[in-house]
């Protein structure tokens, strides 16, 4: 069994990485969640609409500059 961890840096503004969902279908929902919470766009993802956030959400609450709610 081979375990691989892949890390990559993305710029804070306009954060964007290619989707893995075509290789690993299970990545689909993880990428939607990551987009919800951190605002990272996964290019080529079939549907990045809000997943765990309300369907009209346009904010990314786990960014550290998102404050005041907690």
């Amino acid at each position: 069994v081979l375990h691989v961890v892949l890390r990559c840096r993305v710029p804070r503004e306009g954060a964007e990485v290619p989707t893995l969902s075509e290789v690993f279908p299970g990545a689909n929902w993880h990428e939607r969640e990551t987009h919800d919470f951190f605002g990272i766009r996964f290019t080529g993802h079939p549907d990045l609409s809000p997943f765990l956030l309300p369907e009209d959400a346009d904010y990314h609450p786990l960014r550290k500059d998102f404050t005041g709610a907690a």
């Binding site: 919470f37 997943f51 765990l52 956030l53 609450p61 786990l62 550290k64 998102f66 907690a70």
Partner: protein, 164 residues
Amino acid sequence: VLLEKTPDAVGAGVILPDGHETFVLNLGPQHPATHGVLRVKLTMDGEYILRAEPVPGYIHRMHEKMGENRTWAQFLPNTSRIDYLSAMTYTHAYVLVVERAAGIEVPPRAEYLRVITSELNRISSHLVWFGAFLLDLGGFTPLLYAFDDREKILDLLESVTGRG
């Protein structure tokens, strides 16, 4: 026929080759089969489901965000959710382990509060069992009595913890 995602209308009002028109039906977020809430947006052709889109976020509490501005003692590992009907008991067990490992002795007042809240929580948990069990047997009224009493306990626990 499996419909592709149509972002605007989620597949509503699509005319199928046989002339049928699709519509969207919401399963949930509350429905008789739910424990916890989940909504599924169903695109229907009559009684047939063509597309099902799960909407799972209703019980997400953004716990990670809550942890950003709290100290460790204010933000313990969430053992409460192991059994959400008996949350106090699990937190109690967790802090006992930490305190034993660290050799911490807490004041008698804390011990009393912990035992009282754990026992109240045990009663409120059993009230849910009792009410739901009789509900499954076909009796609706016992559930109302059980939940009426349970609410009184939850009010007390909320005054201790800050949340219900």
